[in-house]
Symmetry: C2
Subunit: 149 residues, 2 copies
């Protein structure tokens, strides 16, 4: 039940990001004991920084909070399949598991595109669980981009 | 001549990083008019953050300085072939050119490994110039890791 409600919290945070003009994506870092240590949404528009994806902000917030330089044993939850930059960051941070909602056939880099964690040059492969709450996350993204047109 | 001396400055900054315990890598962002707007070295050890690669720090410093959310028309110079995370960040920032020194057969993602900019899922391909001052950069990295053993 914890896991279901965390993705619901992320979908709500993503919805808030969209209301502020950002592409609706949110991510959380969960400690081995189940504590949510960071929850961030995509802030590219609000921060004026093309690197401020939800996953990067969540990893940096979790590192600041835990005081470690990596997040061994921690899990990442995110409403959209991570891109190449974020997949690389996930490997560098040594996250244990990645749970994501919507697949991103265009820019995704986990189960789509470069499939980074499956490549021999990737030095850390987390366990990956894709497609959780996919429908809700996909519809939110489609609505966001439809409204932009 | 400007370009030659910039890579020399980066090799010197990378050398200083190594003296502080960080893997010797440094990166700069150059404006279309040739101004160096950011010069950063790898600070993973000093900052206690596995994402603090020189390229990420240089892009963020340049965005803060220019006030833009991307770096269209700007160039990145770096002493080591960028990894997947940094290649993704380079594409997101829309950098015009990437100049790098040493090739990284193990974790590089530009001319090695996933060759991210050549992949159809990459939405922006910068011009790439690899192998500049390669010998100097490679020797510095080899010395650093030899001293660690």
């Amino acid at each position: 039940m914890m896991k279901k409600s965390l993705m619901d919290d992320l979908l709500a945070a993503a919805h808030d990001a969209a209301k502020a003009g950002d592409v609706p994506v949110a991510a959380a870092i969960v400690a081995p004991d189940g504590t949510v240590v960071a929850l961030e949404s995509n802030r590219m528009v609000r921060d004026g920084n093309a690197l401020h994806h939800a996953e990067i902000l969540a990893i940096n917030a979790a590192l600041a909070k835990t005081g470690g330089s990596r997040l061994d044993g921690y899990d990442l939850w995110v409403t959209l399949e991570p891109c190449a930059m974020c997949a690389g960051a996930i490997a560098h941070a040594r996250l244990r598991r990645v749970y994501f909602a919507a697949y991103d056939a265009k820019a995704g880099a986990v189960e789509s595109g470069i499939r980074y964690f499956d490549h021999p040059s990737c030095n850390h492969r987390p366990e990956v669980y894709g497609g959780l709450s996919e429908q809700a996350a996909s519809i939110m993204l489609s609505d966001f981009f439809a409204a932009k047109r």
